[in-house]
Symmetry: C2
Subunit: 260 residues, 2 copies
Amino acid sequence: MRITIIGSGNVATHLSAAFKNEGHRIMQVYSRNMQNAALLAYHVGAEATDNMDNITGDTDIFIIAVKDDAITAIVPQLIKHNKLIVHTSGAVSLQQVSDLSTHAGVFYPLQTFSKTKELNFLEIPLCIEGINEDITKQLEEIARTVSNSVYRISSAQRKVLHLAAVFACNFPNYLYAVSEKLLADNQMSFDIIKPLIIETADKIRTHSPAKVQTGPAIRNDEQTMQVHTQMLNNEPELQLIYQLLSQGIIKNINKPNGDK
Amino acid sequence: MRITIIGSGNVATHLSAAFKNEGHRIMQVYSRNMQNAALLAYHVGAEATDNMDNITGDTDIFIIAVKDDAITAIVPQLIKHNKLIVHTSGAVSLQQVSDLSTHAGVFYPLQTFSKTKELNFLEIPLCIEGINEDITKQLEEIARTVSNSVYRISSAQRKVLHLAAVFACNFPNYLYAVSEKLLADNQMSFDIIKPLIIETADKIRTHSPAKVQTGPAIRNDEQTMQVHTQMLNNEPELQLIYQLLSQGIIKNINKPNGDK
């Protein structure tokens, strides 16, 4: 396939590298910043531009990997080429693109990307949605060339998935940062707790998290929770987070389908 | 070394198996429940008992791995043997044991154990504390036979470490459970989000979590946060958790040493 990439951030970088590795041709890379466009284009053997007028129709699919609020401004500039146009956002509905194009779709990789950490793209779930069955099938085929986990996900589902990802990724990472700071403030290395963090995440490969909950809250160990709350007296926000999350865990135990 | 294990739960099980594997001798296993004592004792080639009066002094160290509030009741029954006595709790201070015994110490493995999941014990951090330098050194030596990560941690530090572990392990696991439920309620498999969870945890091996925070809060993407908040209108507790954790992330950005 011939692929044109709009954007040069983390998603654009990982996605175009994965396509290139699987033998697709990256035709052009656009970025508002010519240096960023040139750097990515160089890596994937494409032409770089910082001017949307230079984007040609010599491609099979436009992949828009820019900030959410910039997507709808990009689409009108691509319609004239009559090619597939997909965005890669978890939060933008298909309709926001399909109102503008009859060749619209979504190609959403569910992963946290950093430019400095290598990833095996084949393991990244790709969430696909097309404006019609024909386009959905085309996108599925393309997706399967770079990933072993391809899912058909509607815009309504994707919205929930994006929210679930905030709970499953962004918030745990913040809590890791909290624990790192607690340790540093008491002359302990973050290293000491890393095996615990990794094992906790690893457990979900084979266990439902609701069924392997550990800690004072699930044991309803009120004495420990009280000690912990007192230790956070000087950090009222953390104290409140501690109480709310503990209450959430306790509430889950009491549900009819709860499993301790 | 000759080791006597008081308790038959997850910590007792993993710890005695690790000692056995490294060539130590497990002498006796005590549990209030004879069946549990017998099962563990069988696995590690020890004698089982459900009666503390049957525990003999034919050992080098007593390892108490029972519920926190049962520890101080156990210690007086072991003092007469004049051997090392350690507990394995994150939350109980050394003093609670050392007030009772002059051979007291702590041997706290920082990990989340489940009986059904295998662990490489050598990678589990062991936190050591002794009532004097001589006992600390003995405990360090014993610890190093089963773990590559042995730390000297004071009772004051261990208290913080235990709190940090709640933030780094128990709370993230609860948030995984929340995301699993959000997905299930919308006909999506938890599988789709597992690679994201595992990658997020894996990242901390090489990156400080504060420096790799992603998501709407760190971008100060108010529109997305508002949409997410509205989606949780029927779950006021989750809504509050969403807001508090997002505020925590935003607050961290604004700190002088914050790094986006």
